[in-house]
């Protein structure tokens, strides 16, 4: 049947997007992670899965988010020398910085530490720093494992060593001070791999420097924090949708005490969502500043 042959030709000429292999590999790696860490709960979101992030309980209310870094050729060492000073009460400095380059990949790690001038806060300082250090080490180690698994899968399916070398795999762990005011310090600790965004991670640490504690949305917005934030986020989603953005409003289930946010320079919390969490990937990682009348 000639027409059937034409139909088949048309079918076979459906172009394959470059993204396909990356998306398939993401699932395979995710499944591998799940198999390794069965005890970690898995959240299903529109068929997308992510490993629930669970590092120690030192500051259980801390929010976590994973972020994207596509840059392949950053000179990581540049960021090491800067030591931002936060007023006179606290500062962030690089606790440990190292770079490692093998034939398979490049790894650059900058681990921050918080230093509190007020000695009353040394307990907090210690527990937070321990958590940050463990988080960074764990991310670097797991990212390296993932890259090696990817390498194996690549070679097993007919890829050559030369082709693999051309991937220029880079792993980066670093931090950013999101804001520093007299009252608040917001620190973002990030991990990223240049070949996949599936595991990119940003964890925010928000400190109240006067109280010497980690703050939650509730601390900033008050008892009605959920209502205030939800309303603001839904309104902003609508506004942005009117301007052409795309969201999945039904995926936004409302903020909780664990919702990821940071404090901006104006002293307002900015709620942060993972890629694909409430919007298609094209929206990246949506952020919503919550301006509350009272605060």
């Amino acid at each position: 049947m000639n027409q059937m042959e034409n139909a088949k030709k048309r079918y076979e000429s459906i172009p394959i997007p470059d993204e396909l292999s990356e998306r398939v590999m993401q699932e395979i790696r995710r499944a591998d992670m799940r198999r390794k860490t069965e005890r970690k709960p898995v959240i299903n979101r529109r068929g997308w899965r992510r490993i629930a992030r669970g590092v120690s309980a030192a500051a259980a209310s801390l929010a976590v988010v994973f972020m994207v870094m596509l840059n392949t050729n950053t000179v990581f060492a540049e960021t090491v020398s800067t030591i931002p000073v936060i007023g006179t009460v606290a500062r962030v400095l690089t606790f440990r910085s190292y770079e490692k380059e093998t034939t398979d990949m490049k790894i650059a790690v900058d681990i921050p530490s918080i230093e509190m001038v007020n000695e009353d806060f040394s307990g907090l300082e210690k527990s937070v720093n321990e958590e940050i250090h463990a988080l960074c080490e764990e991310y670097a180690r797991e990212a390296e494992e993932r890259a090696m698994e990817y390498r194996q899968a690549f070679l097993d399916t007919g890829g050559t060593e030369e082709q693999w070398a051309a991937h220029n795999i880079e792993i980066k762990v670093w931090y950013e001070v999101k804001s520093q005011t007299d009252q608040y310090l917001s620190l973002a600790v990030m991990g990223a791999e240049n070949w996949t965004s599936a595991y990119s991670e940003t964890r925010y640490y928000n400190f109240d420097l006067k109280e010497g504690k980690i703050i939650t949305l509730k601390d900033v917005l008050g008892e009605n924090y959920a209502q205030i934030a939800d309303e603001s986020i839904r309104n902003q989603m609508q506004e942005r949708t009117a301007e052409g953005a795309m969201f999945w409003p039904e995926e936004f289930k409302g903020v909780t005490e664990d919702t990821s946010f940071y404090m901006n320079e104006s002293g307002n919390p900015v709620v942060f969502f993972e890629k694909y969490e409430i919007a298609p990937g094209s929206e990246g990682t949506p952020e919503f500043e919550i301006v509350s009348g009272e605060n």
């Binding site: 394959i16 396909l20 899965r49």
Partner: protein, 163 residues
């Protein structure tokens, strides 16, 4: 499941991903949804890999997941489209000019879900009717009946076009 079989499954998926994508695309007709469908199917397959008993059944087992995932997504989307902007979709379907020039490819994708799946799996993916009966979880005679029904429908349309 044995590590061995799991590795075979991941290798099979990586090797055949382009075929999966084409089949998904033939249902979804757009790249973003087709990618989502393939990714969901891979996710589901790996998650339920324990249910796969032997490597011989891998192909039909995976295709079953893929076809189900495509149809599921299609139904979800339809609902969504009708709610949100059903008007746009209707214009596309009611365009009369297309009807006559439609190739067999388009006609196939307008057949009933089961019928078009049988036709696609047989003619595009070159599966035997027995394999299709495993993919679709139907007995062989039902598959045959659907196949004939599909071909008949296509011929009818073709004749009309020819006249």
């Amino acid at each position: 499941m044995k590590r061995d079989l799991y590795d075979k499954l991941t290798a099979y998926i990586i090797e055949n991903q382009n075929k999966f994508y084409r089949l998904a695309f033939s249902y979804m007709h757009n790249q973003e949804d087709a990618l989502d469908v393939v990714q969901n199917a891979v996710c589901r397959a790996l998650e339920h890999s324990g249910e796969l008993r032997n490597a011989d059944a891998m192909k039909t087992w995976f295709y079953r997941i893929l076809v189900n995932e495509s149809l599921l997504f299609l139904r979800k989307n339809k609902r969504f489209v009708l709610d949100e902007d059903g008007a746009d979709r209707e214009i596309v379907y009611e365009e009369p000019g297309f009807e006559i020039q439609d190739s067999l490819y388009e006609q196939i994708s307008r057949l009933d879900e089961d019928v078009q799946s049988v036709i696609k799996l047989h003619y595009y993916e070159e599966m035997t009717l027995r394999e299709i009966s495993q993919v679709m979880e139907m007995n062989l005679n039902t598959v045959k009946a659907k196949m004939y029904r599909g071909l008949k429908a296509l011929k009818v349309v073709m004749q009309e076009v020819d006249v």
